[in-house]
Symmetry: C2
Subunit: 183 residues, 2 copies
Amino acid sequence: MGRWEPDAKGRLVVAALELYTSRGYEQTTVADIAQRAGVTERTFFRHFADKREVLFDGSGELQGLVVAAITGAPADLPPLDVVGAAMERAAELLEQRRPFAQQRAAAIAANPSLQERELLKLAALSSAAAEALRGRGVPEPDASLAAEAGVAVFKVAFERWVDDQPDFVACVRTTLGRLKALL
Amino acid sequence: MGRWEPDAKGRLVVAALELYTSRGYEQTTVADIAQRAGVTERTFFRHFADKREVLFDGSGELQGLVVAAITGAPADLPPLDVVGAAMERAAELLEQRRPFAQQRAAAIAANPSLQERELLKLAALSSAAAEALRGRGVPEPDASLAAEAGVAVFKVAFERWVDDQPDFVACVRTTLGRLKALL
DNA sequence: CCAGTGATGTCAGCTTCTGTCATCACCGTA
DNA sequence: TACGGTGATGACAGAAGCTGACATCACTGG
């Protein structure tokens, strides 16, 4: 055994989610989270840039998956379907952690500060997707529009998946279908 | 003349935008803004919920315009065109204040904290638009998707308008056209 | 002339977040 | 075995964001 218990970062994530859920984000101080995780407040800020970021540790991984899927998609697939297929890849990450994702989504839905951070992560995802589309030769503004539309599909599909639709890929497919039908 | 100079709120907005522009959002303290506006820090927080909100005072007005436009649109117009037409109504607000809007957009683009707040306002706009569409009988998930797509069009069109395309309505029209072509 | 109202000032205090230095188990190397 | 470097953590001070409580005082209506 080391000098400290291992995985301080993971303990901080769990502690934060528990406290955000039970007493709410605003009523939770970083000192509370740190104490529950068995570290000091200063250590929290070494692992996470701020009090919100503790719930968004996996966003980089998700973005990497999506970008790779866009880059590796068949060359003749239309932009919107490329992004749609890439969003389906997110299922691999999500389905494994369904209970965590649901509890996390509930905490975020309950607090505007956390919603802001979520929206920023989704905007970053959209920018990265647009960049990947441009790498495939899709011009502007089509790349940005397809990326934004894809993220919109993701948002709606994710909401349905959290709200008891068990198959995320199916959620994305039907949602994308509805979007296409709108025109 | 009253006990105090009138329009403290307006002076705070101007002072904040000037300071965010010249020395940056993070390097500006609320005390700086208040001093430049000739009030105390406490008065700043009476007019604005936090340091970011000072740049988003007009967002409620914009949302009201858009919702009214959706509610009052011709009954047979397809949802996406309803939202598109509503976004064009934003031109009335924007074209009047072009220099202000440009300087404000530059400040926001330079700082992630301000971007978060902007994204939250746009998400609120999207929610309100979806609600207005539902009021017209558009079912879910079509209402949310059309609203999200409309906001995506707004974002891209706004970016082009700020970047020297003088006619906002034209930006919305051509951007919406590109989106439709994607499907 | 006077009481009520509303915008502001003053001040104390909590929380978030940062900079800086100290500690000390672990690891590779001599 | 001894020893110096490394990296995660603790301890502490302090700036800045934000809130609650109370005081002030021009203005307003009666």
